[in-house]
Symmetry: C2
Subunit: 212 residues, 2 copies
């Protein structure tokens, strides 16, 4: 933590509303169980997209359906990334999302795509460590050089000499940093920069981020 | 934690020596940087196995070499599992192991294989939730029903109606539970059943367990 003022380590006070257009209540544990409604003012094309993806008209989209729906937006995502998305936007392991969560996922991905493209200034389809740091900062996450190095070494799947992170791995990186930071904050009630976990809480916090 | 006496949640006082034949000092952060020696009394066939795997005679085995070496023992492991193995047995991300770490890996896997076979009493190649609980207990880890359910849902890669965990996923499950429990214990200095992390420590603890 050398060089990091207490409490500043993960963007306390960073401006989240623009970065996370998240409808109120989306983290309810029942979010994925009760069919939700589209927020007022939702783009009609987004509604059609949801209805196309929801092939059995159940009001829910499962993991395979979400993977197909997202891929049709000129993006490819592993089922692993899709599971992590579903976990973080429903806070459950049910692997089903309704209209409300679909809308959140859609706008978050749109936002992250914009940030990725802004920092991928040479249009290489990759961002390097410095650009990743800037991208995470613009999302409200300030990570130390050591964490940054770990992230880049984790999410660089190329075998090039220069470390760089491609779009789908960038999304997985954002999801992990966002999700872990939120879980940490939930435990850091006093905003002290430290969080205490029982063994049970620690395992239940961390395991969902492992292979999904 | 309901129903779990304080401090008993992860096998405090469980008998580890037989379960983990770990040579002293294997967790040195330099373990993977300085070529190590085989512990006294190492099985000569294990030494030959190491030398066969170490094709360039560097004194180290890298991730691809370890994957090949372990597969020759009638086991298949994903590169992901191999990376997790290397991380946990060297405590570094260098992805190279020497003779000492190779020996630890070999004997741990042999031990885990034995435990898996003991609990896979019908020789189905899979163990169910109850058997997984017993297997983890015999390794010194007592997990709650909720954690157990999460583990089984994570590590069951089959699409069967009955949840069950195959051998390679069992190993990944053991590695994750063992690794996370050890990291937790390192922070739970007072053996209170609770551990406090700074944000930096939390991220550096958890991120290595994510996709490797």
């Amino acid at each position: 933590m050398a060089g990091y003022p207490p409490g500043s380590g993960y963007g306390y006070g960073a401006p989240p509303p623009a970065a996370y257009p998240v409808p109120p209540g989306y983290r309810s544990p029942f979010a994925a169980l009760v069919p939700s409604a589209f927020p007022p003012g939702t783009d009609p094309s987004l509604m059609s997209c949801f209805q196309m993806a929801d092939q059995d008209g159940s009001g829910f989209i499962d993991d395979m359906e979400l993977q197909r729906a997202l891929s049709s937006y000129n993006q490819t995502f592993s089922l692993r990334t899709v599971h992590l998305l579903m976990y973080l936007f429903t806070n459950t392991n049910t692997r089903k999302i309704g209209p409300k969560e679909f809308t959140s996922v859609f706008y978050s991905l749109q936002n992250w795509r914009g940030i990725f493209e802004r920092y991928d200034s040479d249009r290489s389809g990759k961002i390097d460590a410095y650009e990743l740091r800037e991208a995470l900062l613009s999302l409200g996450f300030s990570v130390s050089p050591i964490v940054l190095e770990l992230l880049v070494s984790k999410y660089d799947k190329s075998s090039g000499i220069y470390k760089a992170v491609e779009y789908d791995n960038f999304i997985e990186c954002c999801l992990s940093v966002k999700g872990l930071t939120e879980k940490f904050k939930e435990k850091d009630i006093a905003y002290s920069g430290s969080a205490t976990f029982t063994y049970e809480a620690f395992m239940l916090t961390v395991l969902p981020f492992l292979i999904a």
